[in-house]
């Protein structure tokens, strides 16, 4: 078994908000028809969740499901369980036009924590962060690369990006969160 490492191995930065690469995170992409009975049953089986409403997240004891598009969900689970869980879903999907892929090693996860967390995002994405609700997920861009993020706690935002741009995104977030760069407009 190879020694799995995340893109930036937990790198962190303390500015007016804290930026942290979150290490290994299990992530499974599901695609299919949300109204399909087997799709819904499989989602429940692997995550304990129902299909989330448009641009929302659902949580259960065993996992979190993120709405990505009208036919795509992202299931979050423990890294070391992701492969087994994916295989379980693939088996369930055998006779439906649905798909499950373990994308844990193809993504990187960051958090921004602190009072200015929304402000850090507001500098980089064309999103009204003052109106951004808790439990809302947004797929957009951070400067020049695609990203998805949601408010994971009162003062914390979780960001998912492609692993190949992890360093670029970390550098962006560091610059946007640098001390002295507070705008003080969004709280």
């Amino acid at each position: 078994m190879s020694n799995a490492v995340s893109a930036l191995e937990g790198a962190s930065y303390q500015g007016f908000a804290q930026v942290r690469e979150m290490g290994l995170q299990g992530m499974i992409t599901l695609r299919g028809d949300f109204d399909n009975a087997i799709f819904k049953k499989t989602l429940k089986l692997i995550s304990g969740c129902n299909v989330p409403a448009l641009r929302e997240l659902n949580h259960s004891k065993s996992g979190t499901v993120v709405w990505m598009s009208p036919d795509e969900l992202l299931v979050l689970c423990a890294y070391d369980k992701a492969q087994v869980v994916t295989e379980k879903a693939v088996k369930q999907f055998a006779k439906t036009h649905s798909m499950a892929v373990n994308v844990s090693d193809a993504r990187a996860v960051f958090t921004i924590t602190g009072n200015g967390a929304r402000e850090v995002i507001a500098k980089l994405a064309p999103v009204d962060m003052a109106a951004f609700k808790k439990n809302e997920i947004r797929r957009t861009r951070l400067a020049q690369v695609p990203a998805a993020f949601w408010v994971s706690d009162d003062d914390q935002i979780t960001i998912v990006v492609f692993r190949s741009v992890a360093q670029y995104v970390f550098d962006l977030l560091k610059t946007a969160a640098a001390k002295g760069g507070e705008v003080g407009f969004i709280y």
Binding site: L54, S69, E72, R138, R139, T140, P146
Partner: protein, 107 residues
């Protein structure tokens, strides 16, 4: 700055989240088509000064393609609608006609 509401994820996306896909509702003439049909499919576009129907992709977003109607001169957006259609919704056409009585129609 153009702002389109994506009909698939409901986001009011500004231009930098989107990818332009050119004129909408073209007939795709392929293998076996006449030279004239193929030429018109490949090269001939309306390019109007005014009401235009277009394809756009929510590239930095949900990834879906959708349709949009806008004015190429004023950038006024009349509406967006699903990609799973061969023609603009009648309601939208009616709305545009009301706003632009001189408009010759979408076909």
């Amino acid at each position: 700055m153009l702002i389109f509401e994506c009909p698939y994820c409901g986001v009011k996306a500004e231009e930098t989240e989107l990818h332009a896909g050119g004129e909408a509702h073209l007939t795709r003439h392929g293998a076996g088509a006449s030279d004239d049909d193929l030429k018109s499919y490949l090269f001939m576009r309306k390019n109007p000064k005014g009401v235009h129907f277009e394809r756009w992709q929510h590239a930095n977003g949900c990834g879906k393609w959708f349709h949009a109607a806008r004015c190429t001169m004023t950038l006024e957006v009349f509406g967006t609608y699903s990609a799973q259609t061969f023609e603009p919704p009648a309601e939208l056409v009616k709305k545009i006609k009301k706003k632009r009585p001189d408009w010759e129609g979408w076909t």
